[in-house]
Symmetry: C2
Subunit: 236 residues, 2 copies
């Protein structure tokens, strides 16, 4: 739990290209990390729970994977997003100091840094040029949420699942690997449809060689097919 031996060099090179922290200078980043506490999470363990009103920190993911989810009034789970190392989550409540509207939990063994709100604000203020980067990143997320709303409203199951799977594609590994080994229930909660229908769609797609399955793992084989589906719906 000693945080002073975090190697900031490693950290910086590992920052996600779209991380809020990318905008900070190495000096500020080092300051920030000095004020952060490291925590390790086993799979399933939550670091932020929906409803908490002590939302005065954000979470920076060092390794592993996180999911951001909320429980709807009817009790079902909605997965808003998944995160990879180098990304910052929980900034909404940190920035506006409201209650947590979503939970964040680990989907694999992970380690995170807990960044107090105050330190983050100070770091940004100390480096005004970083502000543009922070705003740009916030804007990018709003753009993505607009897409999700549009998708929910106008598309049927297949395009929605296609979008979800494309968002899960592991760009680094290159072939059709998905990140986080999602179960069918996870895919359903992510795309907004029932688990049974995920199963039906996957079976159909396998028959068309759009995907391949090895055990419970999925591989995208016809990415173009999913992309046209995601963009134009069933009719296209």
């Amino acid at each position: 739990m000693d945080t002073h031996n975090i190697r900031t060099g490693d950290l910086i090179s590992g920052l996600a290209s779209d991380s809020l922290l990318r905008a900070l200078e190495p000096d500020q980043l080092a300051d920030l990390l000095r004020a952060a506490r490291k925590r390790d999470l086993e799979p399933g363990k939550a670091i932020i729970t929906q409803g908490d009103d002590t939302g005065d920190f954000a979470v920076f993911l060092l390794s592993g994977g996180l999911k951001i989810s909320m429980t709807s009034a009817s009790g079902s789970e909605i997965i808003l997003n998944y995160c990879s190392p180098g990304e910052l989550v929980g900034e909404i409540a940190m920035l506006d100091s409201g209650p947590r509207t979503a939970s964040v939990s680990a989907v694999m063994p992970s380690s995170v840094l807990v960044l107090p709100s105050q330190t983050f604000v100070e770091a940004v203020l100390a480096n005004p040029a970083s502000v543009v980067g922070v705003m740009r990143e916030l804007a990018r997320r709003m753009r993505q949420m607009n897409l999700i709303i549009e998708s929910d409203r106008t598309f049927s199951m297949a395009p929605r699942l296609a979008r979800a799977m494309l968002r899960l594609l592991d760009e680094e590994r290159g072939d059709g690997h998905l990140r986080y080994n999602p179960s069918q229930s996870d895919l359903g909660a992510f795309a907004g449809l029932a688990r049974e229908n995920v199963s039906r769609l996957l079976t159909a797609w396998e028959a068309q060689s759009v995907i391949e399955r090895k055990g419970r793992a999925l591989f995208v084989r016809d990415r173009d097919y999913l992309e046209t589906l995601a963009e134009f719906g069933d009719e296209g």
Copy 2:
């Protein structure tokens, strides 16, 4: 169209409490306005069109009312939000300089200021303290979008329409007035349901004295009813 005679005093007092610009000092605000061009819009006239890739400006609403909408792949309209005087819109594309993902058009005679991206960024940088306010406002919007996604996924027609109408309630006028005189089609596009079902729900609610109708205008009479519906769904 001479913009140098805009009275910044009036403007500042008219700023929405949650405006991005609220965070600026009067000096920066004055600079900003000096670089802005004023435009007048008749109802239905668009100031931003979905797909434009010259998204290097934001729009500040002086008077009137705007709607932010997008056309889905299937051709139907989705209304993402309405805006009142004092609010800033179009910042997403301005901040991340991507293409416009939504259109903005007037729903009543309106006048707006067109703020170039560069000037906005300069104003913010000149006043680092304002950064916190800007981020806070962006965070607030993301929070609201999370709610919309949850609403779309888990609630049936009635709660969704209830939420839409509560968002349209005119807090200033106090009684049950709605802003922007929305038609049933507008309500449908805003809440995500078909116009016919808006009609059916409104008829039912009128019979229960939840709303009252005078001609085509709507008045909320039982706000509590709509709020419990919006929060807990049909079952509550």
